[in-house]
């Protein structure tokens, strides 16, 4: 017993040290990889950025000029997709977590479907979108068809994150609200949703990020013509498709591909910041008197 007692602590300490090193090592390696990626992109992309690049019209297949048409197409697609997906996803998430019994068959069915849907490769959504929105609904290659295809892709992601946020709201709060004779809509509106806001916001962010970064699904639906769209029913080229095209199909397009990628990342960071701000403002508003 004495022997075991004297041996055990150093062994324990050593194994803890090993795990600590491993965890820190992996963390630092990932951080370094991310830093390297950003550094390489910014090094090549930042010199390209200028007012002319953001607001100008593209020329010479994107090798020169600017990306205004691409930015407008991207904003149309993302705004439409998120605008349609958000109420759909929030409604579904509320229905699943607040009205369906956790043990019910429908709950399991919807949950299972969401898992499968969020794992479906985007190219499959692209083919589906092309068949349904472009062909069947007659939207043709258009920003609207692209946005509707993105809705199908991001709703499952948003629903899952929102359901996680809603189910994480402590049962005690629901019980307290019910015991105070709050009706179900009031309980959801005043207690559950504000408490679940961070989860819902992260769901929205995931959806926006996926919509912004999507290439494959949009190639089949919104098209890749490089021109300024007049309406969502026109076809157009989004940022990620522009980057793909410049990098893969246009000789000498690398410099502007890096420039566009830098704009994409900055846009993503700005949206991230904006969502964090809005969610913390909404949280403050509901928690203050």
């Amino acid at each position: 017993m004495v022997e075991a007692a004297t041996i055990a602590p150093p062994l324990g300490a050593r194994s803890t040290l090993g795990i600590d090193t491993l965890v820190w090592g992996v963390g630092l390696a990932l951080l370094a990889l991310f830093g390297l990626l950003l550094a390489e992109m910014f090094a090549a992309g930042l010199p390209v950025l200028s007012l002319e690049f953001i607001t100008g019209e593209a020329s010479d297949a994107g090798r020169s000029g600017g990306i205004s048409a691409v930015l407008v197409s991207t904003l149309w697609v993302v705004a439409l997709a998120v605008g349609i997906a958000l109420p759909l996803a929030l409604g579904t998430a509320l229905y699943i977590s607040e009205y369906l019994g956790r043990g019910s068959t429908l709950y399991r069915l919807i949950h299972g479907s969401l898992d499968v849907l969020s794992a479906v490769p985007s190219v499959v959504f692209g083919l589906f979108g092309n068949a349904v929105f472009c062909e069947l609904l007659g939207l043709g290659y258009s920003l609207a068809a692209g946005a509707l295809t993105l809705v199908c892709m991001i709703v499952p992601v948003m629903v899952k994150a929102s359901v996680d946020g809603l189910t994480a709201v402590p049962t005690e709060l629901r019980a307290a609200g019910s015991a105070l004779a709050l009706s179900k809509p009031a309980l959801i509106g005043h207690i559950v949703l504000p408490a679940a806001l961070p989860g819902v916001a992260s769901g929205v962010l995931l959806g926006v990020a996926r919509a912004l970064a999507e290439t494959a699904a949009l190639l089949f639906t919104s098209g890749y013509v490089l021109r300024m769209p007049d309406s969502p029913l026109d076809s157009g080229r989004t940022l990620s498709i522009h980057i793909y095209d410049l990098a893969m199909n246009v000789a000498g397009g690398d410099r502007f591909a890096y420039g566009s990628a830098t704009v994409l990342v900055i846009l993503l960071l700005m949206i991230n910041g904006a969502i964090a701000l809005v969610s913390s403002y909404a949280h403050r508003r509901t928690t203050d008197s």
Binding site: G103, A175, S178, S183, T287, D288
Partner: protein, 274 residues
Amino acid sequence: MGYLGDAMDQRQACHEPAAGEISLCTDQLCLSYGSKQALEGVSLEIKPRAVTAIIGPSGSGKSSFLCCLNRLTDLTAGSAVSGQVKVGSTEIYGTQRHDPVQLRRQVGMVFQRANPFPFSIWKNLALPLRHHGVRDKQQLRQRIESALQRVGLWDEVSDRLNTPAGALSGGQQQRLCIARALVLEPSILLMDEPCSALDPISTQRIERLILELKERYTIVIVTHDLAQARRIADHVALFWSFEGKGRLIEYGPAPQIFHHPTHELTGAYLAGHI
């Protein structure tokens, strides 16, 4: 208004309430969660404007019984209630189902752990009031102040009503929750081990409060603390678990239960033999 000795196999019809009093009584109340039966045949008549303590070992259905009284069992999927629960002259599980929202205005509840909303102290109390139609600022202020005064919290928090309720001490949070339950002016107050997470000084404070509140409210309190039941209860009901089903085995005035229990399990439990 007779008590039940051994209530296991007896039936008791609920009596008509006296004028001006909201009575509370159960008759052959059974509760199950899916295939598991949690309560079986509980019949008892709660005395108005008095403290009734529900005691018994863990798993004997005390908290489940409490949740039947304001239909909080509705929140648990798969729960089923049979038998009668009468609040005043209304049969809350009857064929003409009582609206749980209306019921819970009459029957307030305080939980084991203080559960203030993540809002300011003011909003914790204003939210239920506003929801039930109190919009006038003056009236809101009056009712909030009076609820906080009733629980002895007004002097401690009147200058910081806009600070988050979570910043209060555990005992203050629990008193805020009691104030929140009282702000709707219920007739009956259910308390599920309200002091179990509190230190002795906060416990003493809440016990004093309960004794004051019984002048105006009918209080049903679940407690594991037999000494607490001795200190505050006017009537005591002992629940026991038989093969996982909670049953009422003895109910009567506190002095009788503590000094002359009729059921042998009561005697053994109170003496700490089991």
